[in-house]
Symmetry: C2
Subunit: 309 residues, 2 copies
DNA sequence: CTGAAAGCGCTTACAG
DNA sequence: CTGAAAGCGCTTACAG
């Protein structure tokens, strides 16, 4: 009766429903799942939950999942070690899952993706499309890196320096795009500075960039790094954008509040998360699905200018 | 045998385990949950997942939960409306839950807490301890607000203005603490400016504070607001801290990178999240449990100074 | 020591 | 139209 399949007199139905209400009865979820085979948990596997891109993606996933009655379970991949990733995947698989979504922004996500069982519906939000064939909501940070670099070259900068985020084993798409743009323009390709994802490491990079005389433009792997780079440049007495132009990546909510406000390659992460849920529901077979192009665009603000003559 | 209860010959055991490995067999989680009654999902109910305090708290919850083999399910309370909160709670309760943790930082969390069934183990991370009696990891933002205000008064400011975050129906603890400190010192109590949680609304507040001649010190309800307030003051030609001192709340990772770096009342949200998991496991009866005092402390940086003579 | 049976709490097809 | 039975995939206590 509770499932609405058996017809009952309106009277009786009302009585039962009231009893349910009063006693606070809830059907046993485990029993329901067992008998119907319906699973309502989507597991999200991710290396991080708090940084802007990750957190926004998760927000989009949760929003889309909740809209169709699914609950989002989060399991953090807290080291790169194979066994810790296996343990996290095992923990996630211990639930009755409708499917899993992997945030493939880093090496941990890539690894988790390879060990998830083939039998489980899986999709990913990803900045690359190598390895196992699953539906991926791709954000094309390669063309983003290319466009951002071309924008700086177009302002008249002779070349563009780069502070890179860690890739998933190989250079990130934005780093590849940056290099491509420089090569296509015949501009010198400086060695990229490696960074983690934090403003603090960006600060270090900013300080060392400031000590070179030839730096007039810097593309940063994300906005937090860009914030730090700007601060590091300023600490060394350089002005942004008069002496050095800085571009970030992601369009962090504080980008417009920075001093100077940050020019950045914006990305709609929540939209990517919603797409990944759609893939799971649509049971698409595999391959990569480009995010709508609207989701990646350069937001020009105050941190960029033509080079000082 | 799988549960390890029945003794089997080592040989047979190995064979079976290999078969399990090869076939990728996984016990049906729903069936296990049904028969053992063991639940391994902790549901987190929260108005937000991306802002600093919320995201850090969730990170702590996930970390502590994973350490004991529990999975964290997240359900966002996306409006204040009673029916949308009920729908979110219903969705969460549709899973076989070990318990639920409510982030009681706002009106939505408070409401969710009141409608969760009495039969479910529940704990909360909270900045207040009214309403239903559940174990709460309390962060004492009231004393934090008091201490921050006293710090500014101690620098010699005649009074301290305040930009408030939304409370859960009533003023937040930090707002109450601010008022108490002013009253105790016999200082004038200016009308607080209301804000949401964003830097953008802080900016508006900063601009309007700059237009008054009497403002020399501002306590902000969180760091994002403080970032915006600083930017707004600067936009109106005032210098921080020379003309106006600004204090934030939370110790956001970018606080040290701001210009000037932000003095703020730091809070270890992840620790509060871990505590809430502990409460769930320990099945504490109710009431409020103060977070270790180490978790709340003033971090003095560059945004505060004695008033201009 | 091992295998067969009971039972967890539901849903659904089926007999009455 | 209604009630009783079968069965989802496990675990555990129990008979052999």
């Amino acid at each position: 009766m509770l499932s609405g399949s058996a017809p009952v007199s309106a009277d009786k139905r009302r009585q039962v429903l009231r009893a349910i209400e009063e006693l606070g009865y809830r059907p046993n979820a485990a029993a329901q799942a067992l008998v119907t085979g319906r699973r309502s948990i989507v597991s999200v596997l991710t290396a991080d939950t708090t940084r802007y891109g990750y957190a926004e993606t998760i927000r989009g996933i949760e929003e889309a999942a909740r809209a169709v009655g699914l609950v989002v379970a989060i399991t953090v991949l807290d080291t790169d070690a194979e066994e810790s990733i296996e343990a996290a995947v095992d923990l996630a698989l211990g639930q009755p899952l409708a499917g899993a979504i992997v945030l493939e922004f880093d090496i941990r996500g890539s690894r988790a993706l390879t060990i998830l069982p083939k039998s489980l519906p899986v999709s990913a939000v990803s900045s690359g499309s190598e390895g196992r064939r699953v539906p991926r909501a791709l954000f094309d940070d390669r063309s983003g890196g290319r466009d951002a670099t071309n924008y700086l070259l177009g302002l008249g900068h002779r070349t563009v320096h780069h502070v890179a985020v860690p890739g998933s084993g190989r250079p990130s798409g934005r780093t590849l795009g940056w290099r491509e743009a420089l090569e296509a323009a015949g501009a010198p390709v400086p060695e990229p500075l490696m960074s983690d994802w934090t403003a603090r490491s960006g600060y270090q990079a900013g300080v060392s960039l400031a000590r070179r005389r030839d730096v007039t433009a810097v593309l940063c792997g994300n906005d937090e790094i860009a914030f730090g780079v700007i601060k590091g440049l300023q600490a060394e007495g350089l002005r942004v954008p008069e002496d050095v132009s800085v571009v970030g990546f992601d369009d962090h909510p504080l980008a417009e509040m920075w001093t100077p406000s940050l020019t950045t390659m914006g990305q709609d992460f929540a939209e990517l998360g919603r797409m990944a849920v759609g893939f799971l529901l649509g049971r698409l077979g595999g391959g990569a699905y480009r995010a709508p192009s609207s989701s990646l665009k350069l937001v020009v603000r105050g941190s960029t200018a033509p080079p000082h003559p």
